[in-house]
Symmetry: D2
């Protein structure tokens, strides 16, 4: 069988860009990480080393910085769509361009309830994300959240599962449920305001998590995804990845102390990993 080049892509990853947008009353500070990835007619580059169809990844990086001046003014989705479209329209050899942007969150400091005009505090591990893929005729826009650490101290149990000879886990009607989620959704209809959509969906996800009487991570995950699809007709599907960050009751009883669901070993590994897409028929 003859050997051939299969699926391939190339691009620049981890372009770290920050921007100050100067509003009359305050400075808006934004920091993002941008990945560019291109697919297209790159067979000759692989097979003969002919680079005549290759836009260097260094140039891709420069392009991101150059276009940020005029085109990164609102949401990361709008900037990603602009960039994805730029590469696919200016580079005829590019069949599809994918732009991923991760936004590092900063909040304006507040003193006595008043926001400071130009001083920020980092927003922590949680990040807002987008992934846009553009071809000559189509655009696919995903938005999401990553590293969102959420936890509830009750309203979560895990019972009536399969038992076999290797089972040691005890059933419980009351446990800590903690997860550091990665969630992203696909737009069937592109919204006018991605940031408003993002804020609404994030709020709904948190509200569903908080209110859910959880019989399993699977059930909570599905409830969260379903709530978004029910509320927003423009979302075609949503993907949730929820590692179960186990808080394991410490065996105080061996020291004649009662552990009434109070003292836990917080663990990172090993971890249950639950992942699903909620979609429409």
């Amino acid at each position: 069988m003859k050997i051939k080049l299969g699926e391939n892509s190339y691009g620049k990853n981890a372009v770290q860009l920050s921007k100050i947008i100067r509003h009359p009353a305050y400075h808006e500070f934004r920091q993002v990480t941008v990945n560019v990835s291109l697919k297209g007619d790159f067979d000759e580059a692989h097979i003969t080393g002919d680079n005549s169809m290759i836009l260097p990844t260094d140039t891709q990086k420069n392009t991101v910085y150059a276009l940020a001046k005029d085109h990164f003014k609102t949401s990361i989705e709008d900037f990603a769509i602009y960039l994805a479209n730029y590469f696919v329209t200016t580079q005829p050899q590019v069949a599809a361009s994918t732009i991923e942007i991760t936004e590092h969150l900063y909040h304006r400091m507040q003193f006595e309830g008043v926001e400071h005009p130009h001083t920020y505090i980092g927003g922590g591990a949680e990040k807002r994300t987008t992934r846009v893929t553009k071809t000559a005729t189509k655009v696919n826009v995903q938005s999401g959240i990553t590293d969102l650490l959420i936890l509830k101290t009750t309203d979560s149990g895990f019972e009536k599962y399969i038992k076999d000879k290797y089972t040691t886990l005890k059933e419980t009607a009351d446990r800590i449920l903690a997860t550091k989620c990665e969630i992203n959704w696909t737009y069937g209809n592109l919204p006018a305001d991605y940031t408003a959509q993002f804020n609404n969906i994030r709020e709904l996800l948190l509200l569903t998590f908080a209110g859910h009487k959880s019989l399993s991570v699977q059930q909570t995950l599905y409830a969260m995804g379903k709530s978004v699809l029910e509320a927003y007709a423009g979302i075609s599907e949503i993907h949730l990845q929820m590692p179960n960050k186990h808080h394991i009751p410490f065996n105080l009883e061996q020291f004649d102390i009662q552990n009434e669901n109070e003292i836990f070993i917080a663990t990172d590994e090993p971890y249950g990993l639950i992942t699903a897409t909620v979609t429409r028929e």
Copy 2:
């Protein structure tokens, strides 16, 4: 010259503990990382392998979990003091015990301005810390903050420094100042309420950072430390470590675009590292 054992210590690090404190109206969730370190008469353990003076690090870990039930109810400082005292009083061979506690911050979720009774969101990279060292007769209590990411988009410059043949940096009266600080202070007088003290000092540090017209990181660092010592007579000294997380203007001019302090390369490495102790005469 004869060979001998010099300074030495041993203990358990990275004890990951979480606790639910059940109040009538809500559940308080706490998560901490505890390090135990003991110094004392351990020469025989090193020289002959005689373990009769060694409290295993596994037992130290068990002790942390066991004592958390009754003694981790308020601040990490109070728990650390209890633990440090426990090891030094129950183990006669221990001359000094040091307890370090790092608290991972969680915030109760809020919906329409109301805090949910048992659902939390992770507080990000910033962590509250303490370090307590106890001997038979003395206690040293330090409190602090780590991984506090703060940034201002203006009111910061860097000018009139030494120039030599390797200088390429341009002077600027207006740059981004960003740092991920580690700050800790030592109590000359132990306060009644460590959490109130912590909150007040943290607020003062942020306020000083926000209001300072910075001529250098050094000057801002010193101003922050000085403000704490001036306001709190019970603090004997404060140590600040402030890596300069550089946001470097991207050279848009090479593309005939003006960069009016808008577009930056956000860098992690290399970084300036400024560190100082502010103390009293």
Copy 3:
């Protein structure tokens, strides 16, 4: 449109297992990280919280440790195949099970050319990997390497690429080529000895990298993949991911010093990312 559960899976990740295999002349030490992932009939768990079809991830973890005693004796591939088959045959609700194993490499210490019988030194970042997916009727076996850091100081250039208004990169016929690769290949025919296969393929990949006169990362990547498919008819395809870890010449000329390709800034970010599958027609 009705909402429904789409693709989903669950399992235990990061099961950290080490084993001593006691040979007459020496102890063999092995350390692996195992991920288990199951797909199947889990709709009720998501929709109603009915766990009767759920084998807990905690039990999956126990199973890995229990089966390692008798079934982790040779390659990670053999162990992964056993585990994958175990879950799919003992759990009728499981349609497909995937086992990923990453092996952390240790080498026996050598003194004066003799291997010590029971003392090891860690093998660094490079790890051997496998991914096995099993259904009732099919098995897919992939083997690979991850975090393989390789570098050549010459025989690499990058020229004759597209130039546009954002191009600043200079063409070069002589640059450092460095990459931390992730490579994995799929077996069309399962080999009798996975470890011998692995060692042969790894050697061939290194030899091809070393000998290649590189006109681009793409060309080197393709040459490496092609060499494996040419040499091993049992390999159906190979996937290579090669981040370009740039070593950028430092501009010494600004200090009137000549940099004859000697002094470089070693960078992690941003990085070019080149990825491709080499396959058969």
Copy 4:
């Protein structure tokens, strides 16, 4: 009590530098991370923002790259001494300069026993380190190793330790001993060839670890340190930090399987941390 500036320093950290040294028969590739730290008369910079005594950290970085051309030709110690001396002699306001260099290890690829002239493979996590502090009249040179992962599968026990009410650890005469050490030693007399010294000391440390019948980590640590001081009169003291990376026997007995010291849970946290200096009277 008046407030004053206490101990302080500043400098550039994480300067990533690589170098090709072109020998007739092969290319030598070196990659290092350099930290510069200066102490001296910086009171005005902190108190009034007067930068006239401040050599910018950006200039420090440039200096490292510029001086590497002619002065980084042999060991990291020789380069660190040159740099430390450069800053203290050219900058009168600097009372002490400290240079830390971490060398990332690369090995030339070998094919059929022959080293390739210009192709390298990364040497893993283990790194060679140095720390040099220079004042007008004194130099202190430390050399060391970091992230050295070593392990023995037998000849290690832990018994006859203190038992109390929180003890659950079982005594064992045969356990895995694993540690990722950080070791550094101070030269009383500076050697002519730092690399030869480093290689000899590293070999002796490994040999002592391999041959030691360990009754505790403390005893092994001390034996390792002592062996170096006994063999090398020019070393004034050695510091060893040895986290105990626990491999905990998995309880197979609960499944009616015997675990004859074969199957272990490999853990990262929590970990015992043993640290000591071995010195001379």
